[in-house]
Amino acid sequence: MNVVFWILAVITVLGGLTAVTLKNTVHCALAVTTAFAGLALLFLQLDAQFAGFAQILVYIGAVAILVVFAILLTRGSETPAEGVFSRTWFAGLLIAAAVFAVLGWAVLHSVAALPNESAAPAVTVLQIGTALMGRYVLPLEIVALLLTAAMLGAVIVAMHEKGEQK
């Protein structure tokens, strides 16, 4: 386990933590962007360059912006008086901790079954392209359809209210 991994891991986890604990929602958005970045770098370290860059492009480039836009559009309800956490935040925390415990237990329990080292895969973009058009063409098309539908849906959802508001 080299140092880079640890640094990137820390960045990611910290980013996530700050994202869920800060009071200012914009700060949370920025923090989660950091987390996304950290994850993209982790992908790169895992020799999944395409996934890493796709992550940067999509998550940081689109999702984070979307989140910021949404925050801006709903700013009327800034920092509520009772606090940013729900009344029963402790139960939620406990459950999350339980989830982590189980997952961690599963991982540590099966350490012996996991492969230790393996050669880095030599993946080229050509291979990825061929795979996309060959083996994964169906999912590709479906995802395209999905994206279209999502776009249309989002527009409709947002637009309807506009009409009412008048």
């Binding site: 869920v20 999702v63 709903t74 459950i95 540590l108 492969p115 993946v123 990825i128 999912p139 989002a154």
Partner: protein, 103 residues
């Protein structure tokens, strides 16, 4: 601890953090942020398993992760649109107050 285990643990941690955020924050947008974190953690798991799988040339794991990213993006868009529309209706994004579906 093998490298794979390390990655998996990190993913688990990020997942748990994202879940905690989704379960405890009042603001609906922050719940969505938490969900995005969870998805990302799952993606990390996928890619990690792909990297250390016996046949990485099949590209299964990475492709899965890529598609997951695409879907996550679509879902984020729709979700946020919903949040905005609810905000317009209820003048708030506080989830504690949205209990109209109470049984």
């Amino acid at each position: 601890m093998t490298p794979l285990a390390g990655y998996l643990l990190v993913a688990a941690l990020v997942f748990a953090v994202g879940l905690a955020g989704a379960l405890t924050r009042r603001n609906a947008i922050l719940v969505l942020i938490g969900i995005e974190l969870m998805l990302n953690a799952a993606n990390l798991n996928l890619v990690a398993f792909w990297r250390y799988s016996p046949h990485p040339e099949l590209l299964t794991g990475m492709m899965f992760a890529v598609f997951s990213i695409a879907v996550a993006a679509a879902e984020a868009a729709v979700g946020l649109g919903l949040v905005i529309s609810i905000y317009r209706h209820a003048r708030t994004t506080d989830l504690d107050e949205m209990n109209r579906m109470k049984g």
